[in-house]
Symmetry: C2
Subunit: 106 residues, 2 copies
DNA sequence: GCGTCATTTCCATTATTCTGGAATCGTGGA
DNA sequence: TCCACGATTCCAGAATAATGGAAATGACGC
């Protein structure tokens, strides 16, 4: 529960959402902090603040690679979050909102 | 984009997340404001503030029914949000994080 | 060890959000 | 019309989050 709130709060901010989506697009290889900052044109302190926030939330991982710190999206945790949000949907009864069934999430 | 941030911000708060999950569980019929407040033990002003927030975000709908206002989860918008978050996953390349593929979301 | 470059921490300022009591609005029944 | 009740708005105080410059940390090559 607290985890979910943290994860959602991490994404509920324009800059962090941009960072996150950039990392989702980048895939498991991830991107260095520097590249992200360049791409989104952010001052280092601001970027670091937001990256730390995302990492704390579990939605993003970081690994050191030489002088760089590489960030990447944690797809498992994102998936757990989505699961949590739709848990017990419609109290187990047949679920009218059909759109929820169609997902295959490429 | 702004929509996504609003939706995420709406859920990124313990009380609102509880309300939302309650409504997901309740299904399309929804629950009256009063019932929600009773269930979660919230003062009316606080509850109203959070319900308004959720409704503004589009994740929750409200309809008047006699003297009651009934709130219900908007499953379509939630689904759109999830889609947005995983858009362009891994830049279109074969997607290593397999967990994302398995979802069928009952 | 020393300079360089990537990233983070420190800090103060500014802005935003949460909370809940009291007053108000709106609907329906008597 | 008047009352009762459900829900919302108003307001102000308290708490929390975002921003970015400057200084500190850490890693590598020489």
């Amino acid at each position: 529960m607290t985890h979910a709130v943290d994860a959602l709060a991490a994404l509920a901010q324009e800059t962090r959402l941009k960072v996150y989506r950039l990392l989702v697009e980048a895939g498991p290889e991830g991107l260095s902090a520097g590249l992200i900052g360049e791409e989104l044109d952010l001052p280092p302190a601001t970027l670091s603040f937001h990256l730390a926030h995302l990492a704390r939330s579990g939605l993003v991982r970081s690994r050191q690679e030489g002088r760089f710190v590489i960030y990447s999206a944690d797809f498992q945790n994102m998936n757990a979050l989505v699961g949590y949000l739709t848990e017990n949907c419609c109290g187990g009864r047949a679920c009218a909102p059909s759109t929820l069934r169609k997902r295959k999430t490429a």
